[in-house]
């Protein structure tokens, strides 16, 4: 193969260079031990920037010549050839773009954000490795390679969450993320092996082809698809495997932005989209996806309402939006899910990076009760955060509005109206918590201890502004998006449109009413926002009513849910599993007494048990 033939190459033949560049960066940083120097960051940024350039080239080629695939043989299992290869199609091109672009911005941002850290170079090294594995994950043309990358991505996430390992909570969180996602990964690998058993290949397109021809037994396909979905649930933090994601906020904020908001956590969404035809063939499986997505969206949103840590609010919001994406997938509209993935990636990365900027500017404060009134001190961050928040809340004409609206229409089309109603409630809640965060952080009185707050340097604000710009205009690519995926345009359903708009704006208004009333006196409100004063005073009853509702219903429910989340899911299911594994390990070791005759007894009993079992045909 002529790798360096500078005549026009197919995109797919160049695509692999993007992850290769990042791996090279990682190897360079680690092997030259540039853990403390700034050169590490330069290498890493150059690598990811060239990745982005490759994306542009690949994208251009793709527009000309369409999907392509290439593979080389790795080894054979029996008569099956295991190949490694890359595939370029709509899905992977989109992901390639999102990953390289967001990663590039986040890394630039990190240069300033992380500059005080020791292990600065290590941070960038792992970032490069992460980028490489994420790129391999989306480019892989077969499930095996995908799985390989999937594991590597998880490893990088582990390393980055635990970056401040000196902090106990950080290493605990890293461990929890590791164990929780692993539960899903077991399912994923078994699912893949199940598919391989029948198909005799790991090649994604071949497997899909076989499935569509009816080559799989129904039960096998169903089991495989659900097991793979379990993997997606772990990675994409779907209820009840979502518990690791809020804790993952112990990592550095840029990491949260890149990995735990924009890229890695959407791997599950990507995976389901990638093998979407399998879900279609294994019919009821999409219902499972929809139900899981919907419950995730609602539950996480209600928890986000009562969180006080800014990053946790964003984290639960991420979980909730991942739920929306799953819901869209479950409603049969993977193009829409990908679109929401796209708008959400920019908006949420923007929010996280803005939160990081707040953090940076105020000397590490993340509790929204201690913040407030920062809009004067940090104007750029204020603007960018607002854009992100409004985009997520679904305010037209920002990106989030279009994608959320598309999801609502897809749900209305593909699922029972009840799904739609619940989804509207979740959307409503997401407006409320976004505006809550916005108000509590940037409006109101500046706390005396925050007088020193300052705007962040240009290396931090520049990525914010770029992302904000994209979030502003992201919605406009919608029609191009659907053409790109050859998807049908949804007929605009005005009822749906109106309801979803109502949910967004209503949520904003409600949040505004509650949170500005609670923190600022009404006179201040009257003085500063004359227009709103009437609403606020007129809405007093509403205010009390909603407050009551929130106190008595939403809060109670949310507390119960979050209690459930803490105790049942977190402590019992996740930590409990972990602890019982450890406990049994620690107990079992005492079997090993060190005494020869005990060992001999175990052997003899073993022999007798085995012999008699066989004799009596017990098993």
């Amino acid at each position: 193969m002529m790798l360096l033939d500078f005549t026009v190459m197919e995109g797919v033949q160049v695509a692999w260079l993007a992850p290769a560049a990042c791996i090279l960066a990682f190897v360079l940083i680690v092997s030259l031990r540039m853990f403390d120097s700034k050169i590490g960051s330069v290498i890493s940024i150059v690598a990811i920037a060239s990745g982005f350039a490759i994306f542009l080239y690949v994208f251009g080629q793709f527009n000309e010549s369409g999907p392509a695939e290439f593979a080389r043989e790795w080894f054979t299992i029996g008569s099956t050839k295991i190949t490694l290869g890359m595939a370029i199609d709509q899905l992977s091109v989109v992901m390639l773009g999102v990953i390289t672009f967001v990663a590039l911005l986040v890394q630039i941002y990190s240069v300033s954000y992380m500059e005080e850290e020791s292990r600065f170079g290590w941070y960038f090294g792992v970032h490069s490795l992460f980028a490489a594995s994420m790129l391999i994950l989306v480019l892989a043309n077969n499930l095996l390679l995908l799985y390989v990358a999937w594991e590597l991505v998880g490893l990088c996430s582990y390393l980055l969450i635990g970056f401040w390992y000196e902090k106990r909570s950080a290493s605990e969180a890293a461990k929890k993320a590791f164990i929780t996602t692993r539960i899903g990964d077991v399912g994923l690998l078994i699912g893949i092996i199940l598919l391989y058993r029948t198909a005799g290949t790991f090649d994604t397109s071949t497997i899909i082809h076989i499935a569509q021809e009816g080559g799989f037994a129904d039960s096998t396909l169903m089991a495989a698809v659900l097991l793979i979905f379990l993997g997606a649930m772990g990675k994409s933090a779907q209820f009840p495997l979502h518990v690791w994601l809020p804790d993952a906020m112990e990592g550095p904020t840029p990491v949260s932005a890149l990995i735990h908001a924009a890229t890695m956590v959407v791997a599950g969404i990507y995976l389901v989209a990638r093998i979407f035809p399998l879900f279609e063939v294994a019919d009821p499986s999409l219902t499972v996806v929809a139900v899981v997505g919907l419950s995730t969206a609602v539950i996480a949103a209600s928890i986000a309402l009562v969180m006080t840590d800014l990053k946790k609010i964003l984290a639960y919001s991420t979980v909730s939006h991942l739920g929306f994406m799953m819901l869209a997938l479950g409603s049969g509209a993977y193009v829409v899910a990908m679109f929401h993935l796209f708008t959400h990636a920019f908006a949420k990365a923007l929010l996280f990076l803005s939160a990081g900027s707040v953090d940076h500017g105020t000397g590490g404060k993340r509790d929204i009760r201690q913040l407030g009134g920062l809009r004067k001190k940090m104007p750029i961050t204020f603007v960018t955060f607002s854009i992100g928040a409004l985009a997520l809340a679904g305010v037209p004409p920002l990106g989030g509005f279009f994608s959320k609206d598309e999801i609502m229409m897809a749900v209305m089309d593909g699922r029972h109206p009840v799904f739609f109603l619940i989804a509207i409630i979740a959307a409503f809640m997401s407006s409320v918590y976004m505006i809550r965060a916005l108000i509590l952080v940037f409006f109101g009185d500046l706390k005396p201890e925050n007088q020193e707050a300052h705007e962040s340097p240009a290396l931090i604000t520049a990525p914010l502004l770029i992302l904000a710009g994209i979030s502003l205009v992201a919605g406009l690519v919608l029609s191009g998006w659907q053409d790109f995926f050859n998807a049908k345009h949804h007929d605009i359903n005005f009822l749906v449109l109106a309801l979803s708009l109502l949910a967004s704006l209503g949520g904003l208004f409600l949040g505004w009413a509650i949170y500005s009333k609670e923190w600022i006196s009404s006179r201040d409100v009257a003085a500063k926002f004359g227009d709103l004063e009437k609403y606020a005073s007129n809405g007093y009853y509403l205010d009390v009513g909603y407050q009551w509702c929130i106190d008595r219903i939403v809060l109670v429910v949310a507390r119960i849910v979050s209690l459930f989340d803490r105790i049942v899911v977190n402590d019992v299911a996740v930590n409990g599993t972990g602890y019982s594994v450890f406990l049994s390990g620690f107990k079992l070791r005492y079997v090993e007494t060190g005494k020869v005759y005990n060992y001999a007894l175990a052997m003899v009993v073993g022999i007798l048990v085995v012999g008699l079992t066989i004799y009596w045909g017990l098993i």
Binding site: K595, Y597, N598, L601, V604, V605, L608, G611, L612
Partner: protein, 176 residues
């Protein structure tokens, strides 16, 4: 392949050979029990010798004269002596307090269980054959050096390794 010899009779009558067998068996088993129950290690070693000589007698009953000879020579002439040497070298008075360990009851149960299983297996598989065949020395030798030449050579290496090993290991404590 050698001569065959009628022995025993029908109907479970006590024949001479059966009586001999029973006597030798009692010696074997009693010796064995002595080995595992004796409180004195020197006694245990001698009782082992008794039991193994009984085994040699069993070999004779089974018309395996060569094996009986080997048994007497190796166990009586070598192994027991070596064990006694070692006991002398180590502190034999320690053995007075060194009797049985804490899992003795369990050990008893397991051994009885194994014995029952093995006996049941033996009885179930019994084909009632009462004809014994003996083997000429020369046949045994021939077979050992032709058919079984490889294991034979390997066995010699086993002995060599054990020899070297024993020397190396017991020399370890010196010159320290």
């Amino acid at each position: 392949m050698g001569s065959t010899q009628e022995s025993g009779t029908e109907g479970g009558v006590l024949t001479e050979s059966l009586v001999v067998f029973l006597i030798i068996s009692v010696v074997c088993v009693a010796g064995g029990l002595g080995v595992v129950f004796s409180r004195n290690v020197i006694h245990a070693t001698f009782l082992l010798l008794v039991s193994l000589m009984g085994v040699a007698g069993i070999f004779l009953l089974l018309l395996a004269e060569f094996l009986a000879l080997v048994q007497v020579l190796i166990y009586g002439g070598a192994i027991t002596i070596v064990v006694l040497f070692v006991i002398m070298l180590t502190k034999s008075d320690e053995f007075e307090s060194l009797v049985d360990n804490s899992q003795k009851p369990l050990a008893f149960l397991i051994s009885i269980g194994l014995f029952v299983v093995m006996t049941v297996a033996a009885i179930a598989a019994d084909n009632g054959n009462t004809v014994r065949a003996s083997l000429k020395f020369s046949d045994l030798g021939h077979s050992l050096f032709t058919d079984w030449a490889i294991p034979f050579e390997v066995a010699s290496l086993v002995l060599l390794v054990a020899l070297i090993g024993a020397i190396v290991i017991s020399k370890q404590g010196e010159e320290e």
